[in-house]
Amino acid sequence: MGKEIKAEENYNITKKKVRYTPRKKTPLKTYKELGFMSGLEVHQQLNTKEKLFCRCPAGLYSDFEDYDAEIIRHMRPTLSEMGTYDGTALMEFRTKKNITYRIKNETTCTYDVDDTPPFPINREAVDYAVQIALQLKLNIVGELHITRKQYLDGSIPTGFQRTAIIGIEGEIPLKKKKIKIIQLSIEEDSCREVSDIGHERIYQTDRLGVPLIETVTYPEMKTPDEVLEAAQYIRFLNRSSGKVRVGIGAGREDVNVSITGGTRVEIKGVSHNKWIPELTHNEAFRQKALLIIKDELNKRVPDTKKWEPTFKNVDFDVSDIGYEPIKNAMNDGWKLVACNLPEFKGILSHFLQPGKTFADEIEGRLKVIACLEKPNYVHSEDMNPVFNELLLNQRSKLLNCKKNDAQIVFWALQEDVQTACETIEERCRMAFEGVPNETRKALKDGTTIFERVLPGADRMYPDTDSAPIPIEDEYIEKQRKELPVDLDKRLEQMKEWQVPEDCYHYILRNNLVLEIERINRDFKINPKYLATTFAHNLKYIEGQLVPDVPFPYTKVYDMFKFINEKNLFFDIVKSILPIIYLHSQMEFESVLNSLEFENYKKEAILKNVSSLQSMFPKISKSKNPKAAEKWIMGNLRPIALGNIPLQELNKFVRKSLAEEGAK
């Protein structure tokens, strides 16, 4: 074995070599230089009563531990329509997972567990999907063809997702450019994963089958911020239809990223749009780092065909190894395997993402493909080395290591050893090629880990259980009548109302333009005021308080209705809002009581001004001319609130004080 490599030092050196910068410090031109390209797949559940292909209720979730039965299944790859096997399918077959489904009787039927063919498609879902497709200005297909999209991870008990294209080729406007849409499809949602440990994966079937639309854009976004903007636009557009579900998990994004010389990598399951810029930024640099590794390896090994890792069963005394995972593995009778990677010195600790190196790529694949739980291996470039020099030397003799090599030791059940060796070799060979085609899981910190090989068009197969569904012109026209105002029209409307720009996001996100319109129409209240009431006052409250039940935005309409009926003035809104936000079931009369509100006539309030004014000099010696005004307002506020506009009262007080001064 060669000289011990200083892993952390190498990580920092290679990080510099990649010229990684934090996103906020990265100028736009960097993305141009990288050749950054990104496209989106936006998933959004539809707010239907029932699931897509059966009559189970949609949107009913239960706790992971609350289930009535379990079913166990395995998946096998099958041929695509074009007569080929899909790469992902084959990878997932290698992983040999036992898949257990937890079933709750009220949300799962024999269709869900693949013991009954599909029922006719839920027309309510098709209506909603067509309406949203029309909003995106897509070319609507003449016939829906239900297609099976293979998923061998078990997330759908059939092994495929039933899906159909509703329309293709549309566009959405961003601030500075237009982004083209590839397609919008309707599909059934998958199971929720409970756990995935070793060879056992567990799913909950309540979400399975809930109707979903997927909107796919062309890879035309050129910066992380543009990706976010497009994601927001599509999300707002979906929500503006009023036909989609909201809440945790109801909208999810897959983000595709590539750079010049790289490959399309799909980041899956991004549940918060705000994560998108960081994730795409880091993925671009990960690809750049992989391209640097590729060049380096090809320089070191000009003939890659001759590159060959070696694997050896290690049987050395581990009594002096304090490392718990290995000790436990040996106690359980697992195999310990050492592997030499020729010319890989400095690669394992090469920077790829903040806090992650090339070694993490191997670790991720060992977990997913070979079912080895983390930590699943140690290597010669660990940040915190496990083995001492002596043991390393023993190992290196065993493997006949050279000084430019790197080494890995992993532990696994005998039956998993071969897959693990293949996985390590496969990933290292890919390093000579550059960026592997894969899907990666988004993590909160903006980095990603390996999820599976990227599936292709090969995993599609026509659904032999269902006939095509014609979409006639008359039907389309009928759906067109159901459409809400276009999103760009909504934006225009807000501009017209002179709503401050910082309100747009909140209002669109919560689909509140309709609410503002409704309140304005019925009570003639200034829309700009309403917009800030929502996007400033209510948003602030949301950040401060936690309500008993989710707050229904329609409650704001009720509040203004009540204020209108009672002839109250709007100053009281700021006091009412936090109360109804916390207790949306509370009646408005009770809200007023809790504010100790009483009705006073304007004259009765104003009458107090002169007596307070004469009282002030007796209690205060302040020379500040504003002091009297402040004190009087403070005293009158509790009775004035809602009964008289505070501004008007203030004006009156000031005038009265001024008149006194003049005397």
Partner: protein, 460 residues
């Protein structure tokens, strides 16, 4: 002539001809709803003539309304070949030799553009390509006898199968598997149970409830279980091998005369009725549930009785059934009738004259029960005694489908009512049993606390 418009007809063919486009063309289509491009796929014959099917580059299929098409242009051509990869089935010295007869069905299948459904695919190479585990269990030979869906199986197929199996046994095969569609799997199992007697080796009928073009198919596991049972078990009976629970856990070996399809789509659809299954089977192990079955023998002796009378009918009794139902059978030359009666084996009075007429004409009528579970008991009520007087013969606890198969088989050998009676009432393969085990009848009902508890614990 090669059909270049596979499945298209009427308006759809007109438009394809107009723009000179054939199936498998990579085509750009202009429509009033916008532009589409992709490969033109064949269309199912049963679908309408108003749409053309396109496979988009993303792999999705969509239909284009021909009325909206304004232009089409071929820019390429890509014909698909749907084929399960064939790999030569390896021979392993010392492993049992098993023969697999194909009759059709979903054990192995592929896409059929003509109907849009799946059609059977079958060869040792294809099977090995799809289920390589088989090679670890036995040396497999296959022979495709027919390619029909199970509803099209009939007397001719039963006879051909029985004779072919007889020949294999005489040649010294270690076990037989028959791949079969599931709808009438139990009819064929019953027919073979009477036509093949005294077999020295296991004969296993197997199918699948989820076709093998699905990742979640039960075909591979069923086939693996069947191969294990055929190659390694010592149970020399004619049996059906299908899923025990709906989970991928174990299969059940059911006696061919006591098994019935009980659910239109469940994996665990086949159940033994009026008895318990013979054994459970996993990839490595057969665990007998019953002990009194015929054991495997080393000789190559078997009796093949390939007889079948086609003019036999079954009446499923319903209240107010009229005698003309039976008269029309008489008029049409039927030679035997099975009635599935209510309760212990009853029908209404208006049928009596017709039943008497059958006796006069020597047309045997056998009584079975709609309840499926339990015996015919015609002494309990007067009705039953009357019916027996008029010539109806109780068929004990023979299942209705089994009774019609057996009567056809008996009448195929003789018309003498007494001889037929003897054949019918002498058990050959447990189609009539002397006793019903107390744990045979278990109809579990969801919602009952103990059943819910059971389902939660056991992966049913």
């Amino acid at each position: 002539m090669i059909d270049i418009f596979k499945g298209y007809k009427g308006k759809a063919v007109e438009i394809l001809k107009k723009f000179n486009i054939r199936v498998w063309s990579d085509t750009k289509v202009k429509t009033t709803r916008g532009d589409f491009s992709g490969i033109i796929l064949p269309r199912s014959e049963n679908d309408d003539d108003k749409h053309i099917v396109l496979k988009l580059v993303t792999g999705y299929n969509v239909g284009i309304n021909v009325g909206t098409i304004t232009d089409m242009k071929e820019i390429g051509y890509k014909e698909a070949h749907y084929k399960i990869p064939e790999r030569e089935f390896p021979f392993t010295e010392g492993q049992p030799k098993v023969k697999l007869f194909g009759t059709g069905g979903t054990i192995a299948s592929r896409l059929d553009y003509r109907t849009g459904a799946v059609i059977p695919a079958f060869s040792p190479g294809e099977l090995y390509g799809a289920v390589p585990e088989l090679a670890d269990i036995c040396n497999l030979e296959t022979e495709k006898l027919f390619a029909v869906f199970s509803e099209n199986m009939g007397p001719e197929q039963y006879k051909t199968l029985a004779i072919a199996i007889g020949k294999e046994i005489e040649k010294g095969i270690d076990g037989i598997i028959i791949g079969h569609g599931t709808d009438t799997l139990h009819h064929t199992a019953a027919a073979l149970s009477f036509m093949i007697q005294n077999s020295p080796v296991p004969i296993i009928l197997v199918g699948s409830q989820r076709s093998s073009d699905r990742p979640s198919s039960d075909a591979a596991l069923n086939l693996t279980h069947a191969a294990t049972a055929a190659a390694k078990s010592d149970i020399a009976e004619i049996m059906v091998c299908m899923f025990g629970p709906t989970s991928d856990e174990y299969g059940l070996l059911h006696q061919g005369t006591r098994v019935r399809k009980m659910h239109s789509s469940y994996r665990s659809t086949f159940r033994t009725i009026g008895d318990v299954p013979i054994a459970t089977v996993t990839r490595d192990k057969i665990t007998p549930i019953k002990q009194n079955y015929n054991r495997r023998r080393n000789d190559k002796k078997v009796t093949i009785l390939p007889y079948f009378e086609e003019k036999v009918a079954m009446l499923y009794y319903y209240p107010n059934m009229q005698p003309d139902m039976i008269y029309s059978l008489i008029d049409n030359g039927y030679k035997g009738i099975i009635i599935a009666g209510t309760g212990l084996g009853h029908v209404n009075k208006p049928l009596y004259p017709a039943i008497r007429k059958c006796k006069e004409l020597g047309i045997p009528i056998y009584m079975t029960v709609q309840t499926l579970w339990g015996y015919v008991h015609m002494f309990v009520y007067d009705t039953g005694r009357d019916l027996m007087n008029y010539g109806i013969i109780p068929a004990e606890n023979m299942l209705p489908e089994v009774a019609i198969v057996k009567l056809s088989w008996a009448l195929g050998q003789t018309n003498d009512p007494e001889k037929v009676r003897e054949l019918m009432l002498t058990p050959i393969a447990n189609e009539i049993t002397k006793r019903e085990p107390y744990n045979g009848y278990l109809v579990y009902q969801g919602g009952i606390p103990e059943v819910e508890e059971f389902i939660k614990k056991v992966r049913k």
